[in-house]
């Protein structure tokens, strides 16, 4: 196993870049990002990150050589991926799969029809070699390193991830998928996903994460950038189930040009601390975004989530919906932010946050920010907090359901407006996860 020295230095950055055989501009980008990282302060809001020690994280590591087929994968990794139901998903002819083990994409398969449509679906490193100009044109343009400390960190040490480019007018019929996993304790993952959908095209990208338990804190700070050109439609689905020692601090942002639609569907289950605020910049007339989020915070977890819509053009619309469930001593925060620029006449925006608390110690906070700079808009906000009542529980158990089943049914019902938006096999897995979790909690 090759492992870089612990700690974050210019020498490390140069080593990563040399190892990957990157072009000069990328090395310069990394070094610039490192400088910015050093200057920027930690986030001034959100969860306590004081236990995060940047000098105690490995920034680049490769455990397995890239392989081309499922059978070539080492048995241990294959087994873990199988437990996630991957081969089945594969059989269902999903468009392709990049399973990221540690920091390299080791396995991928792309269906011939997708390639035949001219779609590029490649590991970032390969795309950098095969399509340098296309990558350079878009890489970290939606989220520059200056944006925040973790964006800068990501810019300096990013590794792995996926590049997707969909030609004009092409509709990718089947979702593209990638799975990300961490293997060794203390390992950070900084995968970069860049999706460029040319005018009139459409694509659905699914990112699912699940990781075994570690004994030491790990940092995950990925980045997703989406460019949806005129009339394009991009849907990005993420399900995150990191182990409970992971700091999951991500940057996700899209730009939607005239008539384009970007949809985010995010499920947050795992991690110790998560900060995640998928955002869409509605840059062209009539651009739309829908941002659906569900989360399940359990004992000791702190999930700081949100969604943003930045309306910069006329007749743009956004809908931000969240459903949060909090169990045990955990806290969930949802920040719903709408910004409507003076020129965005006729914009429509709606923020809706609901929380279900399953225990007296469970905490929730909803922080809506509506910053509206013109009067020709329709914006609305609603927030609700509910608890599972003893009467509901008794009602369901009096029909023969045990308490875990009853809770799971209530919670599933609560998140169903979001759950119905995610692919079937994930919904099934999620239901199972919820049941297991309640059975565990009730004992």
């Amino acid at each position: 196993m090759k492992r870089t020295s612990v700690g974050l230095t210019a020498e490390l950055i140069e080593e990563i870049s040399r190892e990957k055989g990157e072009p000069r501009w990328m090395l310069e980008h990394r070094l610039r990002a490192l400088e910015i990282f050093r200057k920027l302060p930690m986030p001034r809001f959100g969860p306590d990150l004081s236990e995060l020690d940047f000098s105690d994280i490995s920034y680049y590591l490769r455990t397995v050589e890239p392989v081309g087929s499922w059978e070539e994968l080492p048995e241990e990794i294959r087994r873990t991926l199988e437990e996630l139901g991957l081969p089945e998903a594969e059989r269902k002819a999903l468009a392709g799969l990049g399973a990221q083990v540690d920091s390299e994409v080791v396995y991928r398969s792309i269906l011939a029809e997708v390639r035949a449509q001219g779609v590029i679906f490649e590991p970032m490193e390969e795309a950098l070699k095969n399509h340098p100009e296309l990558v350079r044109e878009h890489f970290m343009k939606v989220i520059p390193p200056e944006d925040n400390k973790f964006a800068a960190l990501h810019g300096a040490v990013w590794s792995g991830g996926t590049f997707v480019w969909v030609p004009e007018g092409v509709e990718v019929a089947i979702p593209l998928q990638a799975y990300f996993r961490m293997q060794t304790q203390g390992v950070g993952q900084f995968e970069h996903t860049l999706i460029v959908a040319e005018a009139g095209s459409s694509v659905h990208y699914i990112e699912g994460c699940s990781a075994p338990r570690y004994t030491k804190a790990a940092l995950h700070s990925g980045m997703v950038e989406i460019v949806a050109k005129e009339g394009a439609h991009v849907r990005f689905t993420t399900i995150q189930n990191w182990s409970r020692n992971v700091y999951n601090l991500n940057n996700k942002r899209a730009v939607a040009y005239a008539g384009a639609t970007v949809d985010w569907v995010s499920g947050s289950l795992g991690s110790k601390v998560t900060m995640l605020y998928p955002s869409t910049i509605l840059a062209g007339r009539g651009a739309k975004t829908e941002n659906l989020s569900f989360s399940f915070a359990r004992n000791g977890q702190r999930l700081d989530l949100g969604a943003k819509a930045i309306h910069l053009a006329p007749d743009t619309s956004s809908r931000l919906v969240s459903r949060s469930v909090v169990q045990g001593k955990a806290k969930n925060v949802f920040r719903g932010k709408l910004y409507v620029a003076p020129e965005a006449k006729g914009a429509k925006g709606h923020v809706e946050c609901s929380t279900l608390l399953l225990s007296p110690e469970a905490e929730t906070e909803t922080i809506p920010t509506l910053d509206v700079r013109n009067h020709e808009v329709e914006v609305g906000h609603e927030a609700t907090v509910g608890r599972v009542s003893r009467d509901q529980l008794f009602y369901l158990t009096s029909r023969g359901l045990d308490e875990a089943e009853a809770l799971s049914l209530i919670v599933n019902g609560f998140v169903s407006p979001i759950l119905k938006e995610i692919p079937f096999e994930y919904a099934v897995e999620l239901k199972r996860l919820l049941e297991m979790s309640f059975a565990e909690a009730i004992g």
Partner: protein, 240 residues
């Protein structure tokens, strides 16, 4: 011994003794009426029998099919064939009636095909085809809630059904439907305890036994004529 035997039941709720030693017995395939004025402890009895954690049994025993179920949690009682039709069924958002009932039926070891058949048939029976895909009790009218409770009973086929005021808030047509459902259940072997303070529904049903609960005790027990006596003379007269 009856299918349900209740012996000297004492139940205290929030420090107040509501049931002060209640005993009675239900027969398989028979319809029994439990009557009593408001506040006499009828709903407390229903909750305590079904195992509601807020209505703990302090003294006495409950036997279902000769098994002591006094200490069992609600779901275990249900699995052994006890059913409670709620007076005020709670709303459960996002959970569809069909989905909920399928889970409940699975716990009763019903085969899925059998469930599906019985479920669809029962929707038609209670004229609630349009309610099957709605969220559980959400936005149901009073009458719809009562029919939904009866539908659940019909699908779950309990040994003992405790029905807490299935007649309140129901119009005449609804009442006939509910009475028919109760009669059918009894015909198929269910022992029914019909809890009501209003004898109107009893006109539609063959009642085998009437219990009168007052101030936490069964004060009278008799045949169907007892119900008419209450209708004519009120509870004051039957208190004795």
């Amino acid at each position: 011994m009856g299918i349900l035997e209740v012996r000297d039941l004492v139940v205290t709720v929030e420090g107040k003794k509501i049931l002060k030693g209640v005993s009675f017995s239900l027969e398989k395939g028979k319809i029994h009426a439990l009557m009593g004025p408001n506040g006499s402890g009828k709903s407390t009895l229903a909750f305590a029998l079904a195992g509601h954690p807020d209505y703990p049994v302090e003294e006495g025993r409950i036997f279902l099919n000769s098994e002591d179920i006094t200490e069992l949690p609600p779901n275990e009682r249900a699995r052994r064939g006890l059913f409670l039709g709620f007076q005020y069924p709670p709303e459960v958002e996002g959970v569809r009636l069909r989905e909920f009932l399928r889970l409940a039926a699975a716990n009763r070891h019903e085969h899925f095909c059998e469930f599906q058949k019985l479920y669809l048939e029962s929707l038609a029976y209670f004229r609630m085809d349009e309610l099957g895909d709605r969220e559980l009790n959400v936005g149901f009218s009073g009458g719809e809630k009562k029919r939904s409770e009866l539908l659940q009973m019909r699908v779950l086929r309990p040994k003992v059904a405790l029905l807490d005021e299935p007649d309140s808030g129901v119009d005449v047509d609804g009442l006939r439907l509910i009475a028919a459902g109760i009669e059918e259940a009894a015909r198929l072997g269910t022992a029914v305890l019909l809890i009501t303070h209003y004898p109107r529904i009893l006109e539609y049903l063959p009642i085998s036994r009437v219990f009168v609960l007052d101030d936490g005790r069964i004060v009278r027990e008799g045949g169907p004529e007892l119900a008419w006596e209450i209708e004519r003379s009120g509870y004051e007269a039957v208190r004795g």
